[in-house]
Amino acid sequence: MDDVLKLLKQNARMSFGEMAVLLGKEESEVAKTVEKLEKDGVIKGYQAIVNYEKLPHIPVFALIECKVMPKAEYGFQEIADRVMALDEVESVYLMAGNYDLAVFVKGNTMQEVANFVAKRLSTLDSILSTSTRFVLQRYKQDGVIIDEKEVRDPRNMVL
């Protein structure tokens, strides 16, 4: 199962047949493993890793660090539910450290993100404060180096 997951993490478009060859398994066995991973919710989906720099219009990404007042009984879950329901929000994590929620946001312009923070995020009851950090450059994303340079094989032919 780990083998299959590892291959899919490297290339989600790899066919069952190809995985079967690499792992020395039957194609049907690989198919069954993937099905189980999907059914059990281990695999939540398959997405393209996009290099936004190559798009005609480059979107703006920001990390918003939020300090939150947890609610009795619900803790952070209630505010997390509300934040993650917002379309602009790409990811939400509860953090250990100086702030509580890390909210990753995508917008068309800086102004759009600023408006989102001012009008939608910071106005939520339990949000005590926000601190917005704009992404300047993405070097590596989801384990993939965005602008990978061809590295010459350093090995010499000896014998």
Binding site: L22, L23, G24, R155, M157, L159
Partner: protein, 391 residues
């Protein structure tokens, strides 16, 4: 008076390597995809490099004892015992060398006299034969075949033994064929060897790269063989440490003593910093071996699958990181095949005859390259084979 350069007369028996000639052609092309290299594509695992860095920081830059650091010999002893069930005394039965190449050379230099015969199993690493000439001895080739899985058969061995036979070079897991010898195979040849007074040099440098269900068996662990076997190995292949130049020989005390004598005068000692890194490799590197082996194994399966789909006959390799497909169905010689593949598709593989005459009709493909690289190279090979069959 003009100086006169007279070369060692043994050198004239040494033919230039087919690989050298081939490399000259390869160098003419810029965008080559190579599947020809014989060393791991992985960098040395970080914790091992760190041990080397620490040794440098602490100024451990002096000669080591001639035989190698005792702590390293102790680790090698433990490793050989645990992994291959054969016990060598760290103080007297292990010599740390500059790569396993030096261990092989030291064995030749100390065990061979002019006229002695050395049995060499081929196809095999192309260093064994010329170095026998250099030692003034006579190489006697034993050819192994695809139909036998490139294993050495006892009757083949018996046929070649004469009163002059001193040494058998046993190269398993084998570069270039990827063949291994399982316990029964080794027992069968050990039976022949025990009837003679000859010795065995078992080159076990690829011992950790074995993809069969059972792990590598050293011939030294077979009954009655330890006393007549020199095991040579090293860190290059298992731990991706080629550039560190660190290997070793394990053998009975009197042989190690003689090899040490030669080593002391010729080499002094193996690089000290590398020895500290090697200690770390043996102490904490088992997981690295496993991870690298898994990766090689995937590539091995992929490449064999592709070759079979191209219609080539291909023995399924069980060890090392090479595939040795039979290309005789194309009607080309090994060298023609490689040269045309290089010129037409810019893919470099090594002609099988580089590893002995019986390697004619085969090519060696190395899979110590990323899967992405292997996919591209095999795609081009497939096109090449298709174009060949279309004339």
């Amino acid at each position: 008076m003009e100086p006169k350069v007279i070369f060692n007369h043994h050198l004239k028996n040494v033919k230039p390597s087919v690989v050298g000639k081939f490399l000259e052609i390869a160098n003419e092309y810029k965008e080559i995809i190579s599947l020809s290299v014989g060393e791991p594509d992985f960098q040395t695992p970080w914790h091992i490099r760190q041990a080397g860095i620490e040794a440098l920081e602490q100024g451990k830059t002096f000669y080591s004892p001639v035989r190698g650091l005792l702590a390293l010999r102790q680790e090698i002893s433990d490793y050989m015992h645990k992994r291959f069930d054969v016990l060598y005394q760290p103080k007297t039965e292990i010599l740390v060398t500059v790569g396993s190449s030096e261990a092989i050379e030291m064995a030749y230099r100390t065990l061979l006299n002019p006229g002695d015969e050395v049995l060499i199993v081929q196809p095999s690493y192309l260093v064994y034969e010329p170095m026998v000439y250099m030692a003034g001895a006579v190489p006697i080739i034993i050819e192994t075949f695809e139909k036998d899985g490139f294993r050495l058969k006892p009757e083949q061995l018996r046929e070649k033994i004469t009163s002059k036979t001193r040494l058998l070079i046993l190269p398993y897991p084998c570069n270039p064929t990827g063949a291994i010898m399982e316990k029964e195979d080794l027992e069968a040849i050990a039976e022949v060897i025990r009837e003679t007074d000859m010795l065995v040099l078992s080159d076990e440098i690829y011992a950790e790269l074995n993809y069969s269900d059972i792990s590598h068996v050293s011939i030294a662990s077979i009954e009655g063989m330890r006393q007549r076997t020199i095991v040579t190995s090293g860190f290059s292949k298992a731990f991706a440490m080629t550039g560190w130049r660190i290997g070793y020989a394990c053998a009975p005390e009197e042989i190690i003593l003689a090899m040490t004598k030669y080593h002391q005068y010729a080499i002094m000692c193996a690089p000290t910093v590398s020895q500290f890194a090697a200690i770390e490799a043996l102490k904490n590197g088992a997981g690295d071996i496993l991870a690298m082996r898994n990766e090689y194994n995937m590539r091995r399966r992929y490449i064999v699958d592709r070759l079979l789909k191209m219609g080539l006959s291909c023995y399924e390799p069980k060890g090392a990181f090479y595939v040795f497909p039979n290309i005789s169905s194309t009607g080309l010689s090994s060298e023609d095949f490689c040269e045309r593949l290089l010129k037409q598709k810019q893919v470099a593989v090594i002609p099988g005859n580089a590893f002995g005459q019986c390697g004619e009709g085969f090519i060696r493909i190395s899979y110590s390259f990323s899967l992405k690289h292997i996919i591209e190279a095999t795609n081009r090979m497939e096109e090449f084979i298709q174009e060949l069959s279309q004339g």
